[in-house]
């Protein structure tokens, strides 16, 4: 029982990081109908920038965290300006956007490699307080709790923002129908740029939390989460924010439960992707997808 409970906690924790990563991913897809494959590279840069701020510039983490998020957001603006905005009017924009975001991902990763080197780097000891609770055989660290809380509150803020504020409503309007949004007097280009900012800032935040917890940052650390992030947004339904959160948790839990149930981890990733494959066949719109038919 302890074992299962500990595994569930493990899954909840890693799932919330996946969720936070995927929320940004899905936000852009919801608005533009385009996959932004550079999201993982921004995730990585977010973590590395925070590290640089803490280690080299000597900024405290409490300040470095928001600063790195903003920096990641600015990278998102750059990404939009270079790789997405010029393609938006093209008939194959969904496809070419995919490619140009891959190009930007390569460039970002090359920049990370050039600036930080190939060796893994870590936050200096004592950046975050380490405290561990042992409750009935279950181990929880303060950092884990903190990360789940930060991830959860960021997601709540985002959900409220999208649902309640004017800008949030404008984002949804652009996602539903760009032309109608223009007619309603919404500054579509501005909204799209803003969406990229928010999405990338969240991706950066996920990168920082990921980097803080596992404390092993490399220029290619985004690669391992990239595929999982894709799986998560499919699982939750492309473009759905609650879906991405739920999908992240479901994916995290499926990983740990595969280990817990089979007793070995050989099948962990295979099961996750097989589930993804099955979901696509049975319910392509995902768990919470809008089921909107995207006809050509």
């Amino acid at each position: 029982m302890d074992l299962l409970l500990q595994q569930l906690i493990n899954g909840l924790f890693i799932g919330s990081v996946y969720g936070l990563f995927a929320v940004g991913y899905t936000l852009v897809f919801g608005v533009l109908d385009m996959l932004n494959l550079a999201h993982a590279a921004i995730f990585t840069l977010g973590g590395l920038i925070a590290l640089w701020l803490v280690e080299t510039a000597g900024v405290s983490l409490w300040l470095a965290f928001p600063m790195a998020c903003v920096a990641a957001g600015l990278l998102g603006l750059l990404l939009n300006q270079v790789a997405f905005a010029p393609l938006r009017k093209r008939s194959d924009s969904q496809f070419s956007g995919l490619i140009s975001s891959i190009a930007m991902a390569i460039i970002f990763e090359a920049a990370a490699l050039g600036l930080f080197g190939a060796r893994s780097v870590r936050f200096p000891v004592g950046t975050v307080p380490t405290h561990t609770w042992q409750i009935a055989g279950i181990t929880i660290t303060l950092l884990q709790v903190g990360i789940v809380c930060v991830a959860a509150s960021l997601m709540v803020i985002l959900t409220l923002f999208i649902g309640r504020t004017r800008t949030g409503k404008a984002i949804r309007a652009v996602g539903e129908n760009e032309r109608a949004a223009t007619l309603l007097g919404i500054n579509v280009n501005g909204i799209i740029a803003f969406t990229f900012f928010v999405s990338s800032a969240l991706g950066g935040a996920a990168g920082i939390l990921f980097g803080l917890y596992f404390n092993n940052l490399t220029p290619d650390m985004g690669r391992s989460i990239e595929l999982k992030g894709l799986a998560v947004i499919i699982l939750g339904g492309m473009g759905s924010i609650p879906g991405a959160i739920l999908g992240g948790l479901a994916f995290g839990l499926s990983e740990v439960l595969t280990v817990a149930i089979t007793g070995t981890s050989n099948l962990r990733d295979a099961v996750a992707f097989a589930v993804l494959f099955a979901i696509l066949l049975i319910r392509p719109s995902g768990l919470l997808g809008r089921g909107k038919t995207r006809e050509a």
């Binding site: 893994s120 092993n216 650390m221 817990a260 962990r268």
Partner: protein, 377 residues
């Protein structure tokens, strides 16, 4: 403007001619090719290797005076076997090197070394630890101890000192090196009568090992046997301690653990980790002390086993070249390599076995007070 352009052109041509003259003037030199993974997944090791090898080359050339010098040619295979193949062909047929040192990854070596064997170019592997490398042919040598040598020794020492009875295994199953580590461990554990409670795997690039470690914790082993590269190893070690696996449950690793980065990244959690190695940084042999000092001075961080093996590799190849009359004849160089005996290197007193593998004594180390110290021989 035009004038400036012409002047520049003149300078460039001048430098070119000078360098051509320079290389022909010192005929007492030979070309040594290096194939390291300086980008891609194995870039961490490639970086160390390049530093170790460069240090050796610089020191040798500085000391050579008018004697035999090395012309080093460093190439990056980007951790991709395809590019390794391309680089080998270029070094062998284009640069016409006398010997190749590398490549970093065993998987790449399995594809590239047959090319060199066919062309009759000696290869000195400095970090390939899986079996079946030197078996490729009589031109393939290695100065890295294989897992087959290191691990049985590690298990023997660890069993004696820790009274191991039952262990759990955690290894990366999508990487040739970590998988090989696992297989050797498994065989040795079985033959020494230690019970294996369970086997867990992870994939390259994973950061989260808590599901596997949670399973292992529940099995309550005496030790955790770990086949992982340094990248993942530090994560495994810190997460194991975080999950409350007590320090008395030692973590025992293979060759991949041999990196100061492990201690740096895992911090206090790394205390007590046991690893078998070909080289120990705290060895007091004068050659080694000098190497560690020079290296640390030049690169501002301590060397690891990969740097040491690269450093030793250059010296071994240089000795063979000297013995074979300048090293420009590949066949003669190969024969001289095979005759290397009791050469003093940073790895200790070095010879090749009949099968052209490294024949020197490994050490079993444990991490104590943030340092690799010898646990037993």
């Amino acid at each position: 403007m035009k004038l400036v352009g012409r002047a520049l052109m003149g300078v460039v041509i001048g430098i070119f001619l000078l360098s051509a003259v320079a290389t022909t003037a010192f005929s007492a030199s030979f070309k040594m090719g290096f194939v390291f993974s300086m980008t891609g997944g194995a870039a961490v090791y490639g970086a160390s290797q390049k530093e170790g090898a460069s240090l050796a080359v610089d020191q040798i050339n500085a000391a050579a005076g008018s004697g035999l010098k090395i012309i080093p040619i460093f190439e990056d295979d980007a951790s991709v076997p395809q590019q390794g193949t391309n680089v080998f062909n270029k070094l062998i047929n284009g640069n016409k090197v006398s010997i190749i040192i590398g490549p970093t990854l065993s998987n790449t070596a399995k594809i590239t070394d047959p090319i060199a064997q066919k062309a009759g170019v000696p290869v000195l592997a400095i970090s390939n630890t899986i079996s079946g490398i030197t078996e490729i042919g009589d031109y393939i040598f290695r100065d890295s101890l294989t897992e087959n040598v290191v691990i049985p020794h590690t298990v023997k020492v660890a069993k004696e000192k820790l009274k191991l009875k039952k262990v759990a295994i955690l290894y990366g199953n999508d990487d040739a090196m970590t998988k090989a580590t696992y297989e050797v461990f498994k065989k040795v554990l079985k033959s020494s009568g230690i019970q294996i409670l369970g086997e867990q795997t992870f994939a390259k690039g994973d950061r989260d090992f808590s599901p596997q470690l949670t399973q292992i914790k529940a099995q309550n082993p005496d030790a955790i046997i770990c086949g992982a590269l340094a990248e993942e190893a530090s994560g495994i070690i810190s997460q194991a301690r975080q999950l409350g696996i007590p320090k008395t449950v030692r973590i025992i690793g293979g060759n991949g653990f041999n990196s100061p980065g492990l201690i740096k990244n895992a911090g206090a959690a790394a205390e007590g980790v046991i690893v078998g190695a070909a080289w120990n940084i705290s060895s007091t042999a004068p050659l080694n002390v000098k190497f560690v000092n020079d290296y640390t001075k030049k690169y501002k961080h301590a060397p690891d086993q990969f740097a040491a093996q690269a450093f030793a590799g250059v010296h071994i190849a240089y000795q063979a070249a000297k013995a074979s009359n300048g090293g420009s004849d590949r066949k003669a160089l190969r024969d001289a390599m095979a005759k290397i005996k009791n050469l003093d290197t940073v790895l200790g007193r070095f010879s090749f076995t009949e099968g052209r593998d490294a024949n020197h004594i490994g050490v079993v180390q444990e991490i104590r007070d943030g340092k690799f110290v010898v646990l037993g021989n």
